[in-house]
């Protein structure tokens, strides 16, 4: 197998991480701004925001998993991975506009939940964000280690450390500002590589003629664009996760709060198309491998993409392929570091330790940087365990499903209380875990009960998707129609698919409990309060509102202002 020499791999890594570090140094400020470190001033332009959103959402695992889906499920496989992943970005934007309208200068979604409900809701959301980002960080370091070990004489551990330290190096000082600016360079490298690599492999491997020669390598399901197997095993669980990933992922929320409020729609739509085309395009390599009858090395389907690259690309394009994967994993890893640091700064220190009135921006910056170092160390440790990342992500995605309805409802419905939010999420998790992990047999009456919640879950997911774009009445109509139409097919059937069932049960239970506890509540929340209780950690005095609580009104000590 072709490998890079040690001097070449070190040169490539030096150029990549040295270049991104140089970019971060160019924008670095001696006294960084704590709010800038988290959201870059809330006024990013369309180009840099859309590039950053695209780069962040494309990670190494999404490239590998899309190709795996193509190799496993055939010609529709990459669609059932990439399309639904892309729609995660699209479906969050109408909610994103509402979130920015009520909290224009927030830093994290959990921070907004603190202003809306209180501590328990905030910490539940922040906790789920932390788990997701640490898993994502670990996954990207792991992918980097595997790739470097595969393509060079360096071993896995050396690869993990190189990638982790490279990302930390350019992210540490300027945080989110460095993340979004380097994202642009990384997305140019990634998208440019896809434009070149996919057609080159296509023709080098003997396509289109190979479609006819290799057709016998595909099963009937793999040859069918409308494969039910691909839909049920790959597509459907992702559709269920569409809203969950978007709500539960702080990297998306952070960009939502960073982009100029007027540019949310074009930013999210461009990122949707960019992500979808890139990931589906790379996934086509899995389909080509299937037609060619290629067997993955060591039986590991994650090796399909590197195998195709090593077999069909000339050395110069192999370098481009390497940069594409390193760019994908680094852009997501730096976003995860920025997300984790923001949660530690705003949610842990800013809201819960010091309190907003006493939060010192200089201390916040120190906490943010320490968080990045600690998160890197933790992710390196976990990466060495080589856990099944996709299994962990599917699990976390379903966990996030329990949060979706309570979070979204909290931005629109005045009656939702902190108690309703907290109880509904906890009850949903308590129902999700046994269904997802088969803690009890789901046959007979229990199976039917699970399927009833599956039906409700389908209605909730589709209803929420419609609600974001068209409002309450169409959402309720679509949700009810979806439940009625799906019931005959779901009842007595879907409980056998534990991953999908667990996710739908989480949606259904949280929605039912949250609705039941809120509908009779006397709560009449004033959403204008959120705008006043979130935002910059050193606000101007005139930004304060006389209706705020005494704690909110406390003057900001002059000594802590180090803003530029």
């Amino acid at each position: 197998m072709v490998q890079f020499s040690i001097p070449l791999i070190l040169l490539l890594l030096l150029l990549f991480y040295g270049g991104t570090f140089w970019i971060s140094v160019r924008i670095g400020k001696r006294n960084e701004n704590a709010d800038g470190y988290m959201t870059a001033g809330n006024k990013l332009g369309f180009g840099i925001s859309a590039a950053s959103m695209t780069a962040t959402w494309i990670w190494a695992s999404s490239l590998y998993a899309s190709a795996t889906s193509g190799y496993t499920y055939g010609i529709s496989g990459p669609i059932h991975y990439g399309l639904w992943g892309a729609l995660m970005i699209l479906f969050i934007y109408p909610f994103g506009r509402r979130i920015r309208a009520v909290a224009p200068k927030a830093h994290t979604l959990a921070e907004v939940m603190f202003a809306r409900h209180g501590r328990s809701s905030q910490l539940m959301l922040a906790g789920s964000n932390v788990v997701g980002s640490v898993i994502s960080l670990m996954s990207n370091f792991l992918a980097g280690g595997v790739l470097i070990a595969l393509l060079s004489p360096l071993n896995f551990i050396q690869g993990v450390f190189t990638v982790a330290l490279g990302v930390l190096l350019y992210s540490l000082w300027s945080g989110f500002r460095a993340s979004v600016l380097t994202d642009f360079v990384q997305v140019v490298a990634m998208l440019g590589a896809v434009v070149v690599i996919v057609p080159v492999i296509f023709f080098a491997a003997g396509f289109p003629a190979a479609f006819e020669i290799g057709a016998a390598n595909l099963t009937a399901q793999q040859s069918n664009f409308f494969s039910s197997e691909a839909f049920l095993k790959q597509g459907a669980p992702y559709i269920a996760a569409v809203l969950a990933y978007a709500i539960g992922n702080q990297t998306i929320a952070q960009r939502l709060f960073a982009v100029d409020e007027r540019l949310i729609k074009p930013t999210f739509i461009t990122a949707t198309v960019g992500y979808g085309a890139t990931v589906i395009g790379i996934g086509m390599l899995g389909v080509l491998a299937l037609y060619l009858g290629i067997e993955p090395v060591d039986g590991d389907v994650n090796n399909i993409i590197p195998q195709m690259a090593l077999t069909y690309l000339p050395p110069i394009l192999l370098v481009l392929f390497f940069i594409m994967v390193i760019g994908a994993l680094s852009s997501t890893a730096d976003s995860d570091l920025a997300a984790l640091s923001s949660i530690a700064m705003a949610d842990v220190y800013g809201q819960n330790v010091a309190g907003k009135k006493n939060a010192n921006p200089r201390t916040m910056l120190l906490i943010g940087r320490i968080t990045m170092v600690l998160a890197t160390a933790v992710a390196i440790s976990f990466a060495s365990l080589q856990l099944s990342i996709l299994d962990l992500l599917v699990f976390v995605g379903a966990l996030w499903g329990a949060l979706v309805f309570p979070v979204i409802a909290s931005f629109y419905w005045k009656k939702v209380t902190n108690k309703a939010f907290t109880v509904s999420v906890l009850v949903a998790l308590a129902c999700f875990l046994p269904v997802r992990f088969g803690w009890f047999p789901v046959d007979g009456a229990m199976g039917y009960l699970v399927d009833v919640f599956n039906v409700i879950g389908i209605g909730v997911v589709l209803g929420l998707m419609v609600f974001g774009f068209f409002g309450l009445r169409p959402a309720v109509t679509v949700g009810l129609i979806a439940m009625v139409a799906s019931a005959p097919f779901v009842i007595g059937f879907l409980h056998d698919y534990a991953t999908l069932s667990g996710s739908l049960v989480a949606y259904a239970v949280s929605a039912v409990v949250c609705f039941a506890m809120s509908v009779r509540s006397k709560e009449n929340f004033d959403f204008a309060v959120i705008k006043r209780r979130t935002g910059d950690f050193d606000p101007e005095p005139e930004e304060r509102h006389p209706d705020d609580s005494p704690e909110q009104l406390a003057p900001v000590p002059a000594a802590k202002g180090n803003q530029q």
Binding site: I27, G47, I75, V198, P208, F211, G274, A277, I280
Partner: protein
């Protein structure tokens, strides 16, 4: 799917990616030039 449709199905994605890349680079360049002209930070 016939061979020609399969070929289009596989190769359409890099074309879409190229279009998106063009949009991103154009927009970024405009923002970068604007930030240089006004003296404001890009991020």
């Amino acid at each position: 799917m016939s061979t020609i449709w399969l070929t289009l199905y596989v190769l359409v994605w890099p074309v879409i990616v190229a279009v998106v890349l063009g949009v991103l680079v154009t927009a970024f360049t405009k923002e970068w030039l604007e930030s240089r002209r006004t003296g404001e930070d890009l991020v």
